[in-house]
């Protein structure tokens, strides 16, 4: 298949990239990347983390200038000097690492850099709010108040605002970089995509979720190690073939059989837990068991997980571990009780960007790698290498700043930090958010190994397929309560969806 090219019949491509090359010193981020997007087409960009997708997005957004190669938009050379230049040429991007300013209002974020001015040339809050409100309404997110601060929004709302902002520039070519990473209900976006394509807007769609890509896109270009491997007709190409192109080898494990349910003794036991957005939640996670949690956005899963991690106050109920009541008043006590928490937002809540990878991982065990009061680099390196094996984190990354690692490797390091702490009960909030297929497999493997050694794991994921694939059984949270539980052959995506949308009767 390599080298074959499908193209939209007859239509002249709106965006044409030929032989794009970009190197950072010795590291070649993009090499001879060629792709085209027709007007009114949703074109998928597929590839693992580190394949060069982000660099391509940066080039299209005008943030990075390619070393070689040509870019054409609507038949004219496209050489934006910066973000504004790209927008002026009709190319607008919704970034994966959201680029909103958290301390400013939704309205200001949407209107910048050209705030509407009132009397005397001073930016008028009222006019900007009206304009922002109209924009939000137009794209169907009237639940967001244009006056609220970005920092006060949920991650999903931030992602929507980010997308609406890109739409507000009325692009002729829209770049969506992992637009559904934080959205549990992508239907909203799909409608917008349909509306835009009907208007002739070209969309470059980047997502790790193949099901989603298949639904939206007819054609896709696969990147691997900075090269465009092929542009394929997605309808005629099976998943295994796409995975093969992405990782270079066949990845049959991706369709791993659902593991068997095991009869186990309860390890983590939650009784009548209540708090902000969570009502009377009870469940158990057994030894050697992976319990999934499925929910639409904002159904209380986030506070539930944060309560277990000691980050949110608990108003009623109790959590016990191995029969002993767990102290969840702070993260430190929760950790001492045996709960290892993996947070949702890797960059802000998870890793320490300024520290080396090894220092990130060894943080919970600093006392254990000391000799004579001082940290022994050798003992630290050994401990990190040992846990690194569990998550397939190469040793050579240890001495590098974690900010230099790809998102997937950062996530592996974060999971390594949780594992190394010695916690016997993992509480993982969307552990594979925004990571590539290969890293996902590694993370699944690490979780399975962990429970096989007698631990327990509670895993929330926005991807239902992942839960079906990974969990022994799955809880569905709806409106702050457990709406149901599925296990064995009953654990299917369809049933999860009906429970998660409040149609428990259909799942029975």
């Amino acid at each position: 298949m390599t080298g074959t090219r499908a193209s939209v019949d007859g239509a002249a491509p709106y965006l044409r990239a030929e032989g794009l090359t970009k190197a950072y010193g010795a590291t070649v981020a993009l090499a001879h990347v060629t792709l085209d997007v027709a007007a009114g087409e949703v074109h998928a960009l597929l590839g693992e983390n580190g394949a060069g997708k982000s660099t391509l997005v940066k080039i299209l957004s005008g943030i990075v200038t390619p070393d070689r190669g040509t870019l054409e938009v609507a038949g004219r050379p496209f050489t934006p000097g910066n973000l504004l230049g790209a927008r002026a040429a009709g190319v607008s991007t919704a970034f994966q690492e959201l680029s909103l300013l958290p301390n400013l209002s939704v309205a200001t974020n949407l209107m910048l850099p050209h705030l509407l001015k009132g009397v005397g040339g001073i930016a008028s809050a009222r006019r900007n709010e009206q304009a922002a409100s109209a924009l939000l309404q137009e794209f169907g997110i009237d639940t967001v108040d244009p006056r609220s601060l970005i920092a006060d929004l949920s991650l999903a709302e931030k992602q929507r605002v980010e997308i609406v902002r890109a739409l507000g520039h009325r692009p002729k070519l829209l770049v969506l970089d992992e637009p559904t990473a934080a959205l549990a209900e992508p239907g909203w976006l799909f409608e917008i995509v349909e509306r835009l394509t009907a208007q002739g807007v070209g969309i470059l769609y980047i997502s790790h979720r193949l099901a989603e890509v298949r639904r939206l896109c007819r054609r896709g270009t696969v990147l691997r190690n900075g090269r465009s491997i092929a542009t394929v007709d997605l309808t005629g190409t099976p998943d295994s073939e796409i995975f093969r192109m992405m990782v270079g080898t066949s990845q049959d494990e991706a369709t791993h059989a659902v593991p068997k349910r095991r009869e186990t003794t309860p390890r983590l036991s939650v009784r009548g837990l209540s708090g902000r957005g969570v009502h009377q939640v009870s469940f158990e996670v057994g030894e050697g068991e992976i319990v999934g949690v499925a929910a639409l956005e904002g159904q209380g899963q986030r506070p539930l997980f944060r309560m277990l991690a000691g980050l949110e106050p608990i108003s009623a109920g109790a959590v016990s571990i191995d029969g002993k009541t767990a102290d969840l008043r702070s993260v430190a006590t929760a950790l001492k009780s045996g709960i290892g928490f993996l947070p949702e937002e890797r960059k802000t809540e998870g890793i320490f960007l300024g520290l080396k990878t090894a220092s990130n991982v060894s943080l919970p065990i600093l006392e254990r790698v000391r000799r004579g009061g001082l940290i022994s680099r050798r003992m630290e390196a050994e401990a990190v290498a040992a846990v690194g094996l569990q998550v397939d984190l190469p040793k050579r990354y240890q001495g590098m700043r974690i900010s230099a690692l790809s998102g997937g490797n950062q996530q592996k390091a974060l999971l390594a930090r949780v594992l190394v702490s010695g916690a016997r009960n993992l509480v993982l909030f969307d552990p594979t958010r925004g990571v590539d297929v290969g890293t996902k497999q590694v993370i699944y493997g690490a979780i399975r190994d962990f429970v096989a050694r007698g631990g327990s794991a509670l895993v929330y994921s926005t991807e239902l397929a992942e839960l079906v694939h990974l969990a022994h059984r799955c809880l569905v949270v709806y409106g702050g309560r457990i709406a149901g539980e599925l296990a064995g052959p009953a654990l299917t995506e369809d049933r999860l969806v009906s429970l998660a949308t409040g149609h428990g009767d259909l799942a029975a």
């Binding site: 010193g25 702070s330 430190a332 809540e349 320490f352 060894s362 009061g373």
Partner: protein
């Protein structure tokens, strides 16, 4: 032919710079180098400068700055700023002066006592920052004013006490022809460097400074770390006051005043990120030496005081401008491959 087709300027990828020569090596080297150059150049200004004697005098003079800069740096590492340093230098000095008895060796217990008192004041500032969420510079500014006013009230403007000959001998005595304080400072610098880089406490400080949110989620004792850091900064200032009493033979209410801006300058010129999480003590020590050398030389030149301060300010600006993040990058690029415009002499002679 190679000149006809010049290679693009080498770019250093940020993804690989983690392995290149890091700023923790380059910054102190550059600063030490500049200090040495400055000392050598100073001979040209006045023949009395530039000798070994002057070098030893500069190190002694910079000791006080090194000590306060350590405290300031710890606070800056967690993203704060300590403006109470001058008052705590004064408090440490007043206490030392007041407690000293004629018996001579009393400073053995005075030092820990002064450190504990000033450390407790710092812990209060830290508690205000950590639990009352008062912005660091407001909290420490207020604490500084309170401590200064209390010192003023209790001493009625004139601190009383005794000079300690034993303490003074740290500066006047000679071990292998050098004053003992120099050896003490070497030990101090090693101790502080290890505290920062190789203890769980130090590691957690960097983590907290890099990302307070992630530190909270990771279960680090954020409150206690903050309190301890401000306590250390205050105790360092108190320790500097203690040393100053030995050097000057007395205490005054203004003895700490000249250390606020230099403490910040030493930390920032030493490449510590004012946003927290990045920096190391050796660089701050090198910056203290450079700044002290510079002010020593400039004060020996016959110009108006105003011009001196203006030049001092300019030097700090230039140093900070030159020592930004890209300096190590630039430096390691220089080490890795020759600049593209330089002709390669070997190839040129071969072709002939």
């Amino acid at each position: 032919m190679s000149q006809a087709n010049p290679a693009p300027p080498p770019l250093i990828d940020t993804r690989t710079s983690g392995r290149a020569l890091g700023s923790e090596v380059v910054t102190p080297l550059v600063l030490f180098g500049l200090t040495v150059l400055l000392v050598i150049a100073s001979r040209w200004i006045s023949p009395s400068l530039g000798g070994l004697h002057q070098v030893s005098a500069i190190i002694v003079l910079s000791a006080f700055l090194m000590v306060v800069a350590f405290g300031q740096q710890m606070v800056v590492l967690i993203g704060g700023l300590d403006l109470s340093i001058p008052s705590l230098v004064t408090l440490g000095g007043i206490l030392t002066y007041a407690w000293t008895t004629q018996s001579g060796w009393s400073f053995i217990w005075i030092l820990p006592a002064a450190l504990v008192v000033t450390g407790c004041v710092g812990a209060l500032s830290g508690a205000g920052v950590a639990w009352l969420r008062i912005p660091p510079f407001i909290m420490t500014l207020a604490m500084g004013i309170i401590v200064y006013s209390a010192s003023l009230g209790i001493t009625a403007g004139t601190p009383r006490g005794h000079a300690s000959p034993a303490l003074a001998s740290l500066f006047t005595g000679r071990i292998l022809d050098l004053p003992p304080i120099i050896y003490l400072m070497v030990i101090f610098v090693i101790f502080c460097t290890l505290l920062q880089s190789s203890t769980p406490f130090g590691r957690r400080l960097y983590a907290l400074g890099t990302s307070p949110t992630a530190a909270h989620v990771a279960g680090l004792p954020v409150g206690r770390l903050t309190v301890a850091t401000y306590a250390i900064s205050a105790a360092a200032a108190g320790g500097a006051g203690f040393l100053l009493v030995g050097y000057a033979g007395g205490a005054t209410l203004t003895m700490g005043q000249s250390y606020l801006l230099p403490s910040v300058a030493a930390v920032v010129v030493g490449g510590t990120s004012i946003l927290g999480g990045r920096g190391n003590y050796v660089s701050a020590v090198a910056a203290s030496l450079l700044l002290t050398t510079f002010s020593t030389i400039i004060s020996s030149v016959q110009i108006l005081e105003g011009w001196r301060t203006i030049i001092y300010g300019l030097v700090i600006l230039v140093a900070i401008g030159a020592l930004r993040e890209d300096l190590p990058l630039w430096f390691s690029r220089l080490m890795q491959r020759p600049a593209p415009r330089q002709p390669a002499p070997l190839v040129a002679s071969d072709s002939k």
